[in-house]
Symmetry: C2
Amino acid sequence: MPPGPSARIGIGDDSAVVNAPSGSVVAAVDMVIEGRHFLRSLSSGHDVGVKAAARNLADIAAMGAVPTALLAAVALPASLEAEWALDLASGLAAEAERAGAGVVGGDTASAESVIVTVTALGDLDGLAPVRRSGARPGEVVAVCGALGHSAAGYELLTSGDRSASPALAAAHLRPSPPYDAGPEAARLGATAMIDVSDGLLSDLGHIAAASGVAIDVERSAVLPGPEDPLSSLAGHGSFAGARILDWVLAGGEDHALAATFPPGTALPARWRVIGAVVPEGRGTVTVDGAAYPGPGGWQHFR
Amino acid sequence: MPPGPSARIGIGDDSAVVNAPSGSVVAAVDMVIEGRHFLRSLSSGHDVGVKAAARNLADIAAMGAVPTALLAAVALPASLEAEWALDLASGLAAEAERAGAGVVGGDTASAESVIVTVTALGDLDGLAPVRRSGARPGEVVAVCGALGHSAAGYELLTSGDRSASPALAAAHLRPSPPYDAGPEAARLGATAMIDVSDGLLSDLGHIAAASGVAIDVERSAVLPGPEDPLSSLAGHGSFAGARILDWVLAGGEDHALAATFPPGTALPARWRVIGAVVPEGRGTVTVDGAAYPGPGGWQHFR
């Protein structure tokens, strides 16, 4: 496993030692469980490794921090082929490297089904952490990264219609969070940030609740543009426009970053303004000023 | 859960932020699995929480570091009583606090059996990490903490003879590593260190192999003294002297700390000199100059 540029001591001793130049370490842990977060009939070992790493690395980026290292504890059925486990390790390593991090620790054991527990570490690079609680009325809400791709891909994969958009199917199997957008947002003065794991409305709800504000999302700003692979589905069989909006607003697991910025902040192009922080209705999220009638959050397999 | 004195941000945001004043963070991950590391018929939820925390916190101490925080990912059967899960959380919190740390992150999910994955973090307090690879011929080998208590306790518990020594049974259920002895050893100039998780001979073998040296253990120095609860077993039914030595040399899971020190190091009383680093026989561990004929390592339930 690649230790990455921040490891002083990687795998092989009692513990790893990882650089934390800011004098603090950012840390998050999350499990990826067979049957709940993935199905072995759809996901390769590599896919599961990428997903397990990405879920946690995105949590580091969502604080405005730079990922430095992963530790992975993997429980596998004794019947599983060794090739699958090696493929899992390669996925963890590949996504860690894509984030600029390494894999510095781990543990393995046997279990009834695959459970991959990843702890991700990061460094704030001298900046203050961006929490969920700093959003203020009058600020803009912006998103960097894909919305609804994972949910659409799941539907294509489970309906057997993967060929309708291989890009969306891949987005479900191997989410690709824009890690460097997290520290970028912190430097731009983001007042609150979260990664979109449960669904846009649900996760903006976490910011709204923690900040004691409300958020209004502009429907026209979240509809997929012509270059978005979701647009290619609009005229495809059963995939009507309303369902695409559901995926965008309620589909999770893309691990886009959603953040609030002071009004007038000059945002790079990849940060799309999708709404505003409003004072009325603490903890609520509306779409064009009204409650959204569709689903409010992505449901896991069970 | 108690965030502990080192947490800047605890549970509730995308990630935790933990102080790392030395500019690096020490990190270790380990799983505790039902049927392998504990049996629910013998261990309470609190016991399992203590054991899961202690295994990982001892890995931090074994680098010479001060524990700062835990993150815990807990998979539980849906049929488990809520009381058991709360008891587990109380055990994690209690052992974290005993080590001076807190609980700053977590995740929960359902699984066929109980799997507790803990990541422990620590700080080196400005000292260099104590690795396994620094032992040199002529140095002394010393141990701080119990040896063989967990193995003896396991045998008492599974034979139904817990009353022969409640203290040893408790040592198996709730190991009690001497965390502060890790930084103490680092300040005293320890050249190599490990926590005794697999068994004394096996773990000293890791130091010997990593350092390219051999270690000789003095039998008379590891035999339990009169105040050691193991001594009370010597005349008790089937527990003969030879088995007690097996427990001391090969029983694991006590998480004592074993370290090597330059000759002449003035060691505090709790560090017992038990042997020496010798040049001949790289990677081997002997007892009174000869291979030990008993078991070489503690075997898990399966």
